[in-house]
Symmetry: C2
Subunit: 412 residues, 2 copies
């Protein structure tokens, strides 16, 4: 009998097993303390026998493992807790940015198991060549993952631009990319990951979106609605509302770098004038700090600026103050519009938060109508410049956790 | 037996009836062409007997009425169609704005059955006195509704400010209100509407939010995600995403009037500088057009400006061009951030759309990164200056349609 003509009850049984796998794995993933089989039965309402059978499937499929029991007072043998496996499937996270390539591997539990950053100015490099270099870098990541017993089950690529549903990069102004068909270009290379049902081999997404998602998952107890701003050569924002990314009507939300902060000011690469990027982008800050031409990669640039600011260099302090003020004007507009109470400074901004944060807060308190009653928190991202690549790899892992049956079908 | 100890099946039966009432009424409300009982059975999956019983309840409760059948070709007696009743419950919509009070009555079918606008500068009036005047105005609305066989089943009040969940107006800068407890002040007056289970007697909300909701429901086939901008003395925005109002973390989203468009420009009543309101608010446009001191109420002001622009008066045209440019700078920022493709100009802006629209579009095409692939539509609101009051009344009506059992319990 073909699956298409299977009787309804069989279909329902298959779906029920898939549902139980996802429910139990989801609970284990979300638990603060490793739950026992009995805990899972109590929480899910499933019978203990069902939970045990599901857990056996998850363990033999390398999705879950037993943790050593925590020592506890009182009588009886402590039950063994269940945690996500560190030797099962993993996500491959990739990033192409203006001045670096990054590759990382994140396991089911969210641990970064491999991380490579390759510095290079990608602006003069053709898209196909940039992708070829990235593929080359993944070789080491794949070997490293295999050595650790991990299977790469899908990849996601972060780019600093506008991406459509098919993975076409419509525009990445700071890279000089326009209409780059990433999946077609990568098809010229061997596959990067193992095929897993329900997990696309490659998802292409905007780096600010992926960095915001990375931050959401790196801080599980944190706010579920926030504005995450990635400050690199370009400036992108990820808008997280109620624990989900707000993508906009066509998936192109978050272009905060092109919000006008001096409407008739400096011309921008985008064709507009006075865009935030021209006042608070990495190049603008470096130029104002007298570091123009130093040609430092993003996180080195941020580290160098932080050093100079720490040392009290007047030029660097003034450059950061001015950039923070411009950023604050844009952020005040966003907070007036969206009524968010948390702003996370990520990417190259993260290490500069001690200097950028105060002028941002000053502009918020000057300009946000509700600031008097509901203070806005401005803080540094938990993840650093690698947030987008880590967020990309994490997005693969979360697909597997949401639908473990696809992975288990592969290993069965 | 008290309801609290009723057996589960009885509770379920009660809920099932409520659910069926809501499902059938919802279908009738959403239908483009008056459906017959048979149409409803086919659409909902309920039996024809159940649909007939439910429809009888809805008809005897004055929620639904039978329409004359449309003439049709072919054999057989045409079935009678069902439409929302025009003589049942209605919503009372109220608005206090800077220079007018408005009262309207909207029936179940969304028709405006009464409308009064009272011009007055409310800025020097104490909040309790402004509310007392509004209550006085409702007298005529209530008499008018009663004469038409309508029962006012709840009220909603639109104010140009920040409102918390309890109906406290935290701040309405252009009215000069701060921490005004509207429900407590109204409690000094007789109730405005009949008590109906599940319908709050008075909801207080931001006028830009209610105007956006009014627009959403006035144009059922229109876009479900858009930015609605109400241009009055103040400028407020309602952000509609996927058919729902986006309210923000604390319900205070949409303060587009305080987005900085000239960051070190004119000081604003809010304490900030260079807010959009100072360049595109009604007073700014009137001043630039040489009409300052004319002290015209909002829609008269808009009509006067439209007249002058129509006549080609250079000052008025320049004033509208400049206001549209400032508005376009703010809107470009919003579109870059949220990736919306429809902008609706409402309130006092609606009649000025022929002159404000082009400069807004110019700024969008200059400044929005994605404008090249996905054009943004800028259009005039369907409703005029009365959008907020109509939206307020409509919000009451939609509560009744969503849960008709509360209204039927009253009439039973």
């Amino acid at each position: 009998m073909s699956p298409a003509t299977a009787p309804a009850s069989a279909v329902r049984q298959g779906s029920l097993r898939e549902l139980n796998l996802a429910v139990v794995l989801g609970r284990i993933a979300a638990a603060e303390r490793a739950p026992s089989r009995a805990d899972l039965a109590a929480e899910t309402g499933l019978t203990r026998a069902t939970v045990s059978a599901v857990v056996e499937d998850l363990i033999s499929g390398r999705l879950v493992t037993e943790a050593d029991p925590a020592p506890r007072a009182g009588a009886g043998r402590p039950a063994r807790g269940l945690v996500l496996a560190g030797d099962g499937p993993a996500g491959l996270g990739l990033e192409i940015n203006v001045d670096y390539l990054a590759v990382c591997v994140v396991d089911l539990a969210g641990q970064v198991r491999h991380h490579t950053v390759h510095r290079a100015d990608l602006r003069p490099v053709a898209p196909a060549d940039a992708l070829a270099r990235l593929v080359e870098l993944t070789g080491r990541a794949r070997a490293d993952a295999a050595e650790q017993g991990l299977t790469l089950a899908g990849a996601a690529l972060a780019v600093p631009g506008l991406v459509d549903d098919a993975g076409l990069v419509r525009l990445a102004p700071n890279l000089g990319w326009r209409d780059v068909p990433v999946p077609a270009l990568l098809a010229a290379h061997p596959p990067l990951t193992e095929p897993v049902e329900g997990v696309p081999p490659l998802v292409v997404d905007n780096e600010a979106n992926l960095a915001a998602l990375g931050e959401l998952h790196a801080d599980p107890g944190g706010p579920t609605s926030f504005l995450h701003i990635s400050g690199e050569v370009g400036i992108g924002a990820g808008i997280v509302l109620d624990g989900a990314l707000f993508r906009g009507v066509r998936g192109w939300s978050g272009e905060i770098g092109h919000m006008p902060v001096r409407p008739e000011g400096r011309p921008c690469r985008c064709g507009g004038r006075g865009c935030l990027e021209q006042y608070a982008g990495q190049e603008a800050i470096l130029a104002a700090a007298g570091l123009i031409g130093a040609d430092l990669p993003a996180d080195t640039a941020a580290a160098r600026l932080a050093e100079l600011a720490e040392a009290g260099t007047a030029e660097a302090l003034r450059a950061l103050q001015d950039a923070g003020t411009a950023l604050g004007v844009a952020v005040a507009g966003v907070v007036n519009l969206l009524d968010l109470d948390t702003v996370v400074l990520g990417g190259g901004y993260a290490p500069l938060t001690p200097w950028l944060g105060p002028p941002v807060l000053t502009e918020i308190s000057r300009r946000v109508l509700t600031a008097a009653w509901s203070p806005v928190t401005v803080r540094s991202a938990t993840l650093g410049a690698d947030a987008a690549a880590v967020g990309a790899a994490g997005s693969v892992v979360r697909r597997i956790i949401a639908r473990p049956a696809g992975w288990l079908a592969r290993t069965a």
